[in-house]
Assembly symmetry: C2
Homo-oligomer: 125 residues x 2
DNA sequence: CATTCATATGAACAATTATTCATATGTTTA
DNA sequence: TAAACATATGAATAATTGTTCATATGAATG
């Protein structure tokens, strides 16, 4: 069955729906940007990495201190720091035997701040 | 081995590091908030859900239209809408046989906007 | 220059999760 | 009220991912 030359597959007023399709198409970023974005948010979607970021909010820190503060193995922390660095959320510098990590930019702060606000609102309602 | 009554497990100047520990402890949110936060970001960390949100940026949309626009099964979309709703990022209303979904609040927009900015900067550098 | 210390990394395993398929629920209409 | 339509949901499967363990790298030190 057809209406106005468009295939109708579900729902009633499909004329409106095709207008919608045209309106929306072009506004949704392409597959690559969507994929990059979701990869970025995946990085925030882990407790260990979030804790690391919260520590880095306060101070530049070396790996072994992170491990101690968060009470986790050096290896686990190191793996997660690699993920954080790959997504350019943190940078590091060497100082002797230690490697110090710090925040790469301020988007981290604002993204996390917005997330916290959203959660706070849930509590209120 | 000990220094100033503190156990030394790694790194050299551990006196400084213990000051760090006190500075940081109390600034890192408790386990529950960290967990809630990472759960929220996990929701953003999936291409399908991001696409759904981008469509909802433009318009309130019913499930079958989302499925058609994103070229996915109704079931897949429905499962993801459930996730989005549980984290209070979207709301819905019934209109006859259809159920229309829309954005729940504006944190969604700002979180995604910040994410996009971060990615854009990568490209520049 | 061999040892120690700090960090990184690869492989393996367990846990989580997105999609599919089949089917259930709930609404409208003939 | 039976049939058709729109959406939801449970179980199963495949893919992804976080941690651990063992080990490698790279810098300092005696």
């Amino acid at each position: 069955m057809e209406k106005n030359g468009y295939e109708v597959e579900c729902c009633e007023e499909h004329i409106i729906h095709n207008e919608l399709l045209q309106k929306v198409d072009g506004k949704v970023p392409d597959e690559e940007e969507i994929s990059d974005l979701s990869d970025l948010f995946k990085v925030f979607g882990d407790s260990t990495r979030l804790k690391i970021l919260f520590v880095l909010f306060e101070s530049e820190v070396c790996v072994c201190d992170l491990a101690e503060i968060l009470n986790m193995t050096q290896s686990a922390i190191s793996h997660q720091l690699k993920v954080l660095k790959q997504s350019k959320l943190v940078t590091n510098r060497r100082e002797g035997k230690s490697i110090f990590y710090s925040l790469a930019d301020d988007h981290v702060r604002s993204i996390i701040a917005q997330g916290r606000e959203h959660i706070e609102e849930d509590v209120k309602k």
